[in-house]
Symmetry: C3
Subunit: 216 residues, 3 copies
Amino acid sequence: MTSIETLATVLDLGGTFVFAISGGLAAVNRRLDIFGILVLSFVAGNFGGITRDVLIGAVPPAALSSVNYLLVSVVAGLLTFFSYAGVGKLKTPVLYFDAIGLAFFAVVGAHKAITHGLNPIMAALLGMLTGIGGGMMRDILLTEIPQVLRSDLYALAALAGAATVVGGDVMGISYAISAAVGGILCFGLRFGAIRFGWHLPTARLSAHRRASGESD
Amino acid sequence: MTSIETLATVLDLGGTFVFAISGGLAAVNRRLDIFGILVLSFVAGNFGGITRDVLIGAVPPAALSSVNYLLVSVVAGLLTFFSYAGVGKLKTPVLYFDAIGLAFFAVVGAHKAITHGLNPIMAALLGMLTGIGGGMMRDILLTEIPQVLRSDLYALAALAGAATVVGGDVMGISYAISAAVGGILCFGLRFGAIRFGWHLPTARLSAHRRASGESD
Amino acid sequence: MTSIETLATVLDLGGTFVFAISGGLAAVNRRLDIFGILVLSFVAGNFGGITRDVLIGAVPPAALSSVNYLLVSVVAGLLTFFSYAGVGKLKTPVLYFDAIGLAFFAVVGAHKAITHGLNPIMAALLGMLTGIGGGMMRDILLTEIPQVLRSDLYALAALAGAATVVGGDVMGISYAISAAVGGILCFGLRFGAIRFGWHLPTARLSAHRRASGESD
């Protein structure tokens, strides 16, 4: 039990760091000042988990009752600020890091929702929300339509990872195993989306545009 | 009592469905993929109620502790996805459906706030928030200024419906009656706004623009 | 104890009023109707405190369980609506009023977070959030990148004020004293930013743009 909690914390902080980098990069791109960069780092790294905790009644949220999440976010933000060129060059690596963060969060979020008594379907959705919430709020703060709403299996990957953990729980499989399988599944779907352009269909509205030669 | 709860649930799910359609349509218009459409459907259908429940301390929110709201939202989203043309042709009908949904939510939201001990004025406002919250979040996610902030008695209609329920409660009138009256009042105001262009004044800033011939 | 609570309430309502004016002005500028103006007034005046209360588990939030905050916000909104020209002429005065509101909120928010058992660092951050949250949500609703993310020591001033209160609490100094010192510090930083253009650095990305003559 304790080792599982340690695992969950490590995954959670790792995911926070990676997402905070994505928030910091977005903030630098929009020319926010150092404070704006730190806010975006914190928001991107923690908003998903904070929303989950508020919704399941676990207040104050973990990201506020422990200082660790703040520290990790600030380090990520400062790193982005002081070596934007260096971090920016890592654009593709960051995509993969982000996929790792997504896998971490989806798995941890689903587990936490289960332990707070939510039904399996909603626990899976909250796992997904934990994964995508930070990036959504990052985009909203920068007045952009959240990328997750239009791209590349992002949310679906999170949902798949979270659903695996929930399914494992229903079938009595140990969390360590279902978390590993779910995390790999989530990462794998994102990997395919980044590398091979896997994506979901849009509505028929777009059928003629595709036919007329738009990239598919 | 049980029959009133059943009534409240039916109204709530009906409102969720209608609002989810509006979210799905907005998502298709912005060319989101199927996942984005489902998210917008869920958000438009449930964000108002979720916010209300978080604010009154009823966590996890009803929309998360029962699967029904998710199911209704997903059905609405899929319907929009697979028959956008059909649903889109119903633009004016959808406006009226939306007015029905607004009436449902305002009435149900006010009632729930009362039962959680909020004072009458704030209960009425929470009823209004239940009605308008989903549409506001739908617009925010699509980076648009929420329509409700600039149009046609929308929020005022919700407030009137909610206030009727609250007033009825203060005067000891049965919920079934005050809900019916409040719902009809809310729908009626929206009907007038859609059909006859009823609207609220903007600030004096605009006085000369109107004088110079802008549509009124 | 009671006199401190009274002081906190007065500061809180004063801050609400000032921020509500800022929300109302922004709404008029975007040509929202009277309802939109009232909503923006309420949101700008109360969203920071509501978010703080939800995060620390103090639900229903103070802004909803008492009618005072609503009344103050509505008065501010109506004032803006009926005398926009008058209020608008006060652009610079409003900046200073806003600085006063920020100081109030940062100090009160930090104090409330402490009394709800948050650790000192997070209590300081929640004080800051109380100060900046309303303005952030005002800007999000109007689809603008929150000003606080790019300007003039705004958030840093709030953080300094909140941290002073928290530091005073840790050192056992009376709230009345730390609140006064923190409030003056916050206001002083904003005053310097408004009057003398104090600001934070942006990332190196912008180095060559500055060199090429951009205003600094």
